[in-house]
Amino acid sequence: QAKYKERGTVLAEDQLAQMSKQLDMFKTNLEEFASKHKQEIRKNPEFRVQFQDMCATIGVDPLASGKGFWSEMLGVGDFYYELGVQIIEVCLALKHRNGGLITLEELHQQVLKGRGKFAQDVSQDDLLRAIKKLKVLGNGFGIIPVGGTYLIQSVPAELNMDHTVVLQLAEKKGFVTVSEIKSSLRWETERAKQVLEHLLKEGMAWLDEQAPEEPQYWLPALFTELYSQEITPEEAKEAIP
């Protein structure tokens, strides 16, 4: 019995020692890579995408920890974690306007504004990756595909498949009606109304009862006119002090 145990431990010890050595070698390789190409990653969004995709393919998450080699040596961590802070701030500031739903485009514009003229460029892909990491904080961050783009959710409101599909329907015009839902999705009135009421309650939809034919449910997240509107100082205060 004891002999088996010993062997088991020795085997693991051997492999761990080997891993430790290979890890040191890898660290050196990464340092070399960083000294030549660190700038490329910082400045070139396309290169970042390539880098991330390759990591994903081999089963490595360069953003898992600030203490990881990737983060420490390539600085990718700081880039995305800081972006995470900026995303949280924008979403908080605008939550009262849009109920916690915002298009990726608007989020992108607002984040770019907040970063100022001399900051590094960030792409929409960068935002999506940062958001995926924020999910783990439990604040309800989510990514909802609509039309050709995405809606970003930043509140812990429950949005199931029914809600999502109505959001997708509303994306074309910025609003949706009960009749449209019934004809496009072939739902009963009751089901359509429940979904719309839920969105109203969450502050993600506004009701226009004076629309000509029937009440229209508008999504502030999809109002194009609001895009260039600045975040007011009051709204900025609502964001983390």
Binding site: E13, C55, L137, G138, K201, G203
Partner: protein, 386 residues
């Protein structure tokens, strides 16, 4: 689009490049034309567009032809645009891609952004009108037979060549970077394979690997960003790093927590801590994993997860259930309150205000009235008056 002329794209003497932007589409008024993907250059004299794939295809319009410009912000699936309104083409204009057009304006779509900067620069040039005070020679053709013309042409060609070399250098850098990246990834892949094989050994020899070895293995995984093949977590709970981090957090968060009534959401903590650090930021996972260790390390703060999934950090001395009692008082005083209203009265974030009211409801102290006008909480009279 009939105002544009074919051009070599070479800058003339006296003409300076102001700004350029890749990824710009040129449209004839509302209609799409074949100028889909190009580099847009602004000089002191002209607006030049060159096709990214076919560098020979290059057109330009003098800035003097511009009446005014407008911005169109981006929309869903639409890039930001600049609309350029133009004077009618002059009769002695050089030939261009279009003989006639029903529109007196063109649209520039910035598919790769840069619209804000470009608009700013273009507006500046239009205000300064530098083309009036810096006359350039007519199209180089006219002078090219004279000695002076040949000298001019050489100077311009030299500048162009430098730009071209710089472009090639950038391209070369990128392809070298990709090559090096691929090689690096090969090595990283080996690490992943090795970690899988170790994990398998661990599984087979359950309990025969020491705790010390487990900790070591987990820290290796952390360095590489490899998900723990045994538990599927992308960290090792119990790594030294997270333990240290947990202790640090307990120190850093004491005062902020006291200032905020003893409770903060994890997103607030994430922003607070990272803004204070400035560099070497924590990943969201680092924060969560450190917080999961707070209780076991017997630190003065703890992690709590509400039913909704919202995660908060509380002072050990904080008792949310006691806060519920005072919340009930507040709601009773006002008759009824929504989460927004309660947040304002008490001075909390709306997120945490809502959680407190939900907890009060769960404990039976409050009732909800859920209507399209919002979620409103009332004291539970069923309980108190039955």
């Amino acid at each position: 689009m009939d105002r544009f002329s074919w051009t070599t794209g070479l800058l003339e003497l006296g003409e300076t490049l102001v700004v350029q932007q890749r990824g710009v589409r040129l449209s004839d008024g509302e209609e799409k034309v074949k100028f889909d993907s190009g580099v847009l250059l602004l000089s002191t004299h002209r607006l030049i567009w060159r096709d990214q794939k076919n560098h020979e295809c290059c057109i330009a319009v003098p800035l003097s032809q511009i009446v005014f410009i407008e911005e169109q912000s981006s929309g869903i699936g639409k890039s930001a645009k600049i609309v350029v309104h133009l004077h009618p083409a002059s009769s002695n204009k050089e030939p261009g891609p279009f003989q006639s057009s029903k529109y007196s304006y063109v649209k520039l779509s910035f598919k790769e952004h840069g619209q804000i900067e470009f608009y700013r620069r273009l507006s500046e040039e239009m205000t300064q009108r530098r083309w009036e005070s810096m006359p350039t020679g007519q199209a180089v053709q006219v002078n090219k037979d004279t000695q002076a013309g040949r000298i001019r042409a050489v100077g311009i060609v030299g500048i162009e060549r430098k730009l071209e070399e710089k472009r090639k250098e950038t391209d070369k850098n990128i392809s070298e970077a990709f090559e090096d990246l691929s090689k690096l990834m090969e090595k990283a892949k080996e690490m992943v394979e090795l970690s899988k094989s170790i994990a398998n050994k661990i599984k087979e020899k359950q309990g025969d690997i020491t705790e010390d070895e487990t900790i070591r293995f987990k820290s290796y995984l952390l360095s590489m960003g490899i998900a723990n093949p045994v538990t599927r977590e992308t960290y090792g709970s119990g790594t030294q790093y997270h333990m240290q981090l947990a202790k640090q957090l307990a120190g850093i968060l004491q005062t902020p927590l006291e200032e905020r009534g003893g409770i903060m959401s994890l997103t607030e903590v994430y922003c607070l801590v990272n803004r204070a650090r400035g560099l070497e930021l924590l990943s969201p996972e680092d924060l969560v994993n450190a917080c999961k260790m707070l209780e076991s390390l017997k630190l003065p703060i703890r992690l709590r997860i509400f039913d909704s999934g919202v995660m908060v950090i509380e002072l050990q001395s904080h008792n949310e259930e006691e806060m519920v009692a005072s919340a009930l008082e507040t709601v009773s005083e006002k008759g009824s309150l929504t989460a927004d209203e309660f947040a304002k009265v008490v001075g909390m974030s709306v997120l945490l205000a809502k959680e407190r009211l939900l907890l009060a409801e769960k404990m039976g102290h409050l009732c909800r009235d859920d209507s399209v006008e919002g979620l409103r909480f009332y004291p539970n009279l069923f309980l108190t008056q039955s």
